[in-house]
């Protein structure tokens, strides 16, 4: 029953939106060039799939997000652990990170183009910036919130420094870090589209920009729809990750 409701209600809301869209197009005054309807967009969707452009652009965007996001997580999680565990690192890095964090990744566009030129690197750099800071901050907070009893247990059973990290700190922060990663992927996905409107010749952001210049609003809409679909899939993947049994078990540790 619950599965059915989970499954059917989203379909209902999507159908209503598409129906409204069609109604507005049919009874509205816009031309197809300005406001294409669902059928026209579906045709263009099919066209872009068949000529391979959609796949190529999606892969290009996903590639940039993946690299930038992994870099952000790979550097951000260890730094967050150090900030959460060592007072010196906390005072050294925390104010700096809080200062850098509110600067929108998009504000870095001029500098990143100057430093990295044209191509994948500036986009990856922007994705990295947009992932790195939230991941560091969430990890540090998660580490600080670990129940001190677990460190006493570790001391009682003579854990080594490495064991304290691998058996207490890391498993204790997994649920919160997974949640942070889930939110961060969404941000990274937002930023990639913007980044691709500037420095590159591929990707979904470029598809939208290029189609606008060609006055193909149907292609623009296809780009938007694909961005939404991929964002949805990324979120589902990250959600499933947070439902793994040992992650769920860790969540009860607070």
């Amino acid at each position: 029953m619950i599965f059915k409701r989970n499954f059917i209600l989203p379909i209902v809301s999507f159908s209503v939106i598409i129906a409204l869209w069609e109604l507005v197009v049919v009874y509205g005054q816009w031309s197809v060039q300005v406001f294409p309807g669902p059928v026209a967009v579906m045709n263009s969707f099919y066209e872009l799939i068949m000529n391979g452009k959609l796949l190529k652009d999606s892969v290009a965007s996903l590639y940039r997000v993946t690299i930038g996001f992994y870099l952000g997580a790979l550097l951000g999680i260890p730094l967050g652990i150090m900030i959460g565990r060592v007072q010196v690192f906390k005072y050294l890095f925390n104010p700096l990170i809080q200062f850098m964090r509110p600067i929108s990744p998009l504000a870095w566009i001029p500098l990143s183009m100057l430093w990295f030129g044209i191509g994948d690197q500036p986009a990856i750099f922007l994705i990295f910036l947009s992932s790195f800071f939230p991941i560091v901050v969430s990890t540090a907070i998660a580490v600080e919130r670990i129940n001190p009893i677990y460190f006493q247990v570790a001391a009682n059973f003579n854990f080594t420094r490495m064991e304290r990290l691998s058996k207490v700190v890391i498993p204790a922060i997994v649920p919160e870090v997974v949640t942070a990663l889930r939110l961060t992927v969404a941000i990274a996905w937002l930023v990639v589209v913007a980044a691709e409107m500037i420095a590159v010749q591929s990707g979904l952001g470029y598809l939208i920009l290029d189609s606008r210049n060609a006055l193909r609003m149907d292609y623009v809409m296809v780009g938007m729809i694909v961005i939404g679909i991929i964002g949805l899939i990324l979120d589902i993947i990250m959600y499933e990750l947070s439902q793994i049994e040992s992650v769920v078990a860790s969540r009860f540790g607070r």
Binding site: I149, Q152, A155, V168, A249, G253
Partner: protein, 264 residues
């Protein structure tokens, strides 16, 4: 062997939040709060001692100092003549709240104290032995959150006993259990003690627990705490407070000592 000697133990801390007497005086760092002072006690090998006292009297703090978790104290604590400087698996602590690591199964938790054993077979046998002993057979691969409160407590006892410690410290180990589970686990701990004869030191505020379990009861008063009563119990086990006039008299005496006008 594990003879514990506490000599002149004192603990105080500075309450920095309390208002300074003179705001301009930087040497005045706040009020010094004495938790306890000049405590002298001795525990014999294999003894089961219960420490009673009003809440906030520092009995948990004392236990934590004895286990090596807190090194800022006056006086000294000697275990077999040696000063304790850090926690060690020779003396295992059973925590007031749940001390099981929630991301590990019962099996993995019990394995913690045995993880450095070379012989895999011996390790597995020991883990199984202690899980069986606390009647958690069949729950080896459950996570703590999938167990009831009583089962979690038993798993923690299994983990503590599996390392074959010299001393077991228990800080209000029945807190948060429902009444029946409390009685049941208490009985199990008494049986375990009869069976393995480890030194067990338990902090509690349940007077009945102390009467049922202890070889000796120590009563502390409010902070700064001192020992205000020490009593050896020679009653045979299992004990029944209602049927044993000696225990009832002792209970009245403890209530009076703690300043509760108890009418039996």
């Amino acid at each position: 062997m594990s003879n514990i000697k506490i000599q002149g133990l004192g603990k105080s801390y500075i309450n920095r939040r309390s208002r300074k007497r003179d705001p301009g005086d930087d040497n005045d760092i706040g009020a010094e709060i004495k938790v306890f002072e000049d405590i002298n006690l001795e525990f014999e090998d294999g003894e089961m001692v219960c420490i009673l006292g009003p809440s906030g009297c520092g009995k948990s703090t004392m236990l934590r100092i004895m286990a090596g978790f807190d090194q800022s104290y006056k006086g000294q604590i000697l275990i077999d003549g040696k000063r304790i400087i850090e926690p060690s698996s020779d003396n295992v602590f059973v925590f007031q709240q749940n001390g099981l690591l929630p991301w590990m199964t019962v099996w993995q938790n019990v394995e913690l104290g045995l993880r450095n054993l070379e012989d895999e077979q011996e390790k597995e046998d020991t883990i199984q032995e202690y899980i069986d002993m606390v009647e958690l057979t069949g729950f080896e691969y459950h996570y703590p959150s999938q167990l009831s409160g009583g089962m979690q407590r038993r798993a923690e006892l299994a983990r503590a006993l599996a390392v074959n410690p010299e001393i077991l410290y228990m800080d209000e180990p029945f807190t948060g259990l429902d009444y029946l589970t409390h009685l049941k686990i208490r009985e199990e701990v008494v049986n375990m003690h009869t069976f393995i004869k480890k030194t067990m030191i338990m902090v509690t505020h349940f007077i009945d627990d102390a009467l049922i379990m202890a070889d000796r009861i120590i009563v502390l008063n409010e902070r700064p705490a001192r020992v205000i009563m020490e009593h050896k119990l020679d009653f045979s086990r299992p004990r029944n407070i209602e049927k044993e006039p000696g225990l009832r008299d002792l209970r009245d005496q403890i209530f009076m000592t703690l300043g509760v006008s108890y009418v039996a």
